[in-house]
């Protein structure tokens, strides 16, 4: 595997001049993802922050062929693209070369409204890589909760009020749902670990059939932290085991180094308190009074999931 510096030689196919927020982790993620492109590649993009902010007509940040159709259907769009290339290649209408297909969707476009089309495409076995950049709410439209929003988070549709303390449900176990489709490659990643992320993108593109990567991408506006902290917040997600890093290849779970270090030395596992305190969306858990009951509930859920994932990875 190349080193980080070697990856720096790879061309970035996502230009500057896009209009994502200052400090947007989706921007970092998109740049890193495109560094993994080493074959002709086409990107399909669900409606969302990344799509809207990167392609305000007539400007596009994408330097590879790029297609947006709608919010809930990017897996289906990618299915059609793949089918057409297959047919045209077979009929000798296009060059006999493989074309990588990458589909991007946010947590809204993946966990919620796009789940059906994602499931359909995974079941049919199209050869494409789906990347869900999950920033924990509908950030594009003003921070409404999604089923990917973490427990107790304050969003505009799960507001922390005087009675209800933010979102009442835990995050939907999307990666488990995707794994249940028995596709050849599933992984989790964060932009704080570029080498890990780029490797996974390459690996996901190289397998035959559907691949899926869940990227925890922070949002300075919706999660409420200083823009300079956007990468740090995703790092904290790994360190607190909210976003353990692993891959599932043909059903076999392997834990990746950043999480493995924590598994082998539990003292390195940070309490979620550090993750929560860093973000304004959890402020109501600390002010006007500290809600230890909720923080404990949250911690217990994360601990349970962490144990489950360790067991699956055999560590």
């Amino acid at each position: 595997m190349p080193t980080l510096k070697e990856y720096a030689k790879e061309k970035v196919h996502f230009s500057g001049g896009h209009r994502l927020c200052a400090g947007c982790a989706a921007g970092s993620m998109a740049r890193q993802v495109t560094m993994a492109f080493n074959k002709p590649t086409v990107v399909c993009n669900a409606t969302g922050c990344l799509e809207v902010a990167s392609t305000i007509y007539p400007f596009t940040a994408w330097e590879v062929p790029w297609l947006h159709v709608a919010f809930e259907n990017t897996s289906a769009v990618a299915s059609g693209v793949e089918a057409a290339y297959n047919a045209m290649r077979r009929k000798g209408m296009i060059k006999d070369e493989h074309i990588d297909i990458v589909a991007f969707g946010g947590d809204g476009g993946t966990f919620d409204i796009g789940l059906q089309s994602l499931s359909g495409a995974l079941e049919r076995g199209h050869d494409f890589l789906y990347i869900c950049y999950d920033n924990g709410a509908y950030m594009n439209t003003g921070i409404q909760r999604s089923s990917g929003t973490p427990f107790a988070a304050n969003t505009t549709t799960s507001p922390a009020g005087s009675v209800v303390p933010g979102k009442g449900q835990f995050k939907k176990p999307l990666v488990d749902i995707v794994v249940a489709h028995r596709i050849p490659f599933v992984a989790t990643a964060v932009p704080a670990e570029p080498k890990d992320l780029i490797e996974k993108v390459r690996q996901g593109l190289d397998v035959e059939g559907p691949a899926f990567i869940h990227v925890d991408a922070s949002c300075t506006r919706g999660q409420r932290f200083d823009p300079s902290l956007s990468i740090e917040i995703t790092r904290l997600a790994v360190q607190t085991c909210i976003q353990p890093l692993y891959r599932v290849i043909d059903g076999e779970y392997t834990m990746d180094r950043p999480s493995l270090r924590i598994a082998s030395d539990p003292s390195k596992k940070k309490p979620i308190d550090e993750y929560l305190r860093a973000q304004g969306r959890f402020r109501h858990l600390y002010k006007p009074e500290q809600r230890d009951d909720l923080i404990t509930l949250f911690q217990e859920d994360i601990d349970k999931r962490w144990e489950e994932i360790k067991a699956k990875c055999g560590v």
Binding site: C44, P58, L67, H68, V81, I99
Partner: protein, 391 residues
């Protein structure tokens, strides 16, 4: 070639087979199912060289079609009723993405209450979406129009999706004789070997489907508007080309017994067959009545329509569709606005009939005629009327 006995659905599937699309992405819905099933047979038996994407919903069907067409593929799909409602959002994007998808529709009533039978409201509901929208009266027309739809949609001056509607069950599940054509004829008609028209081309990357704000949105829509206008001539030319090859004449606006007609029925789809039969009977009794059949609904061929109605005293617009709270029928509104521009405005009567597959007998068409003429003779337009509804 001797005729083949096929249902309307089967005729469309056979036509699509001859075209041999690169991608078919479709989801079954009554009464369109036979199209999808038959096409699946062709794939299973190697009679076509098509990637069949058996999607999990109509929404994904149209989405996959746009993906495939944008990638450069020739694409076919099919739907009806609730299926079209589910893909409604994406239908709009098919035209703005300039993807020449051909979609056959077995027209069916829209819920609710739920009903699976023939009605054209489903296809008329996306009249404003930028699609070229056609209706067929017989299985032969369905067969021919499906093939022609590819040539029209894919023409470089058009590049728009095309819908071809057949009335659910009345055509979709009815056997009629259809004179087939050969694969070679279709191939020649469509311009021989298709060249790659890669749009998502890694060697020439472009972005498609960008956010258009106030500064460019109207320009993007104006392109679709112009493509619709340009498609008129292409449609006429394509119909003529087909006639040269098959001898079968097609016009965007068809007429029957209109030469000396004083009154005219206007309708679309299979109902035209019953209208013709009623006209034959009425003519036998000395009535000067004819039929205007709208084959191509969008784009609207206003000039061609006006030419036919120049000397007409009264128009009886009869449609198997409805629009709640509107000043009249859906087709009726197009007819009325066209007549508004003509020098001599004829009387007009508008009828909604046959919703949810309700039959309308030939003698009822005659009754509709007599009722309308009575009103016209009293010097009145007849208000929009739902034929055959019990009170």
């Amino acid at each position: 070639m001797s005729k083949i006995a096929v249902t309307g659905d089967d005729a469309i599937a056979q036509a699509a087979k001859l075209v041999n699309p690169d991608v078919v992405a479709a989801y079954p819905i009554t009464p369109q199912t036979i199209i999808v099933e038959r096409f699946s047979d062709f794939v299973a038996d190697g009679e076509v060289d098509t990637e069949f994407v058996c999607v999990e919903s109509e929404h994904s069907a149209m989405s996959a079609c746009i993906g495939a067409s944008t990638a450069g593929g020739r694409v076919f799909t099919s739907s009806a009723s609730a299926g079209l409602m589910l893909m409604y959002e994406i239908l709009q994007i098919a035209s703005s993405s300039r993807t020449p998808i051909v979609c056959a529709i077995a027209n069916r009533a829209i819920s609710g209450p739920i009903n699976i039978h023939g009605e054209q409201t489903d296809q008329l509901l996306f009249r404003d979406s930028g699609w070229i929208s056609q209706f067929a009266e017989t299985n032969q027309e369905a067969y021919d129009q499906t093939i022609m739809a590819f040539k029209i949609g894919e023409h470089p001056e058009v590049l728009l999706p095309v819908a071809v509607g057949i009335d659910g069950f009345i055509l979709s599940h009815a056997i009629e004789g259809v004179e087939p054509v050969t694969r070679e004829l279709v191939s020649d008609f469509l311009g021989g070997e298709r060249k790659s028209i890669l749009r998502l081309d890694p060697d020439n990357p472009v972005s498609i489907g960008l956010l258009h704000l106030q500064d460019y949105y109207m320009e993007a829509r104006a392109q679709v508007r112009d493509a619709q206008q340009r498609s008129k001539q292409i449609i006429i030319d394509t119909f003529k080309d087909w006639q040269k090859l098959t001898g079968r004449e097609y016009n965007p606006i068809e007429s029957y017994q209109m030469d000396d007609a004083e009154y005219a029925f206007v309708t679309m789809g299979s109902g035209a067959g019953n209208a013709r039969t009623a006209i034959d009977e009425l003519r036998a009794n000395g009535e000067k009545v004819g039929l205007i059949k709208v084959r191509v609904y969008r784009p609207w061929f206003g000039n061609e329509f006006s030419t036919l109605t120049k000397n007409i005293k009264g128009i009886i617009s009869v449609e198997r569709a409805h629009s709640f709270g509107s000043p009249g029928g859906i087709l009726g509104q197009d007819v009325k606005s066209t007549l508004f521009d003509s020098k001599q405005t004829p009387y007009m009567a508008e009828y909604c009939y046959g919703l949810g597959g309700r039959d309308c007998l030939v003698k009822e068409w005659t009754e509709i005629y007599n009722r309308s003429i009575q009103g016209f003779n009293e010097g009145e337009n007849l208000p929009y009327f739902w034929w055959g509804v019990r009170e």
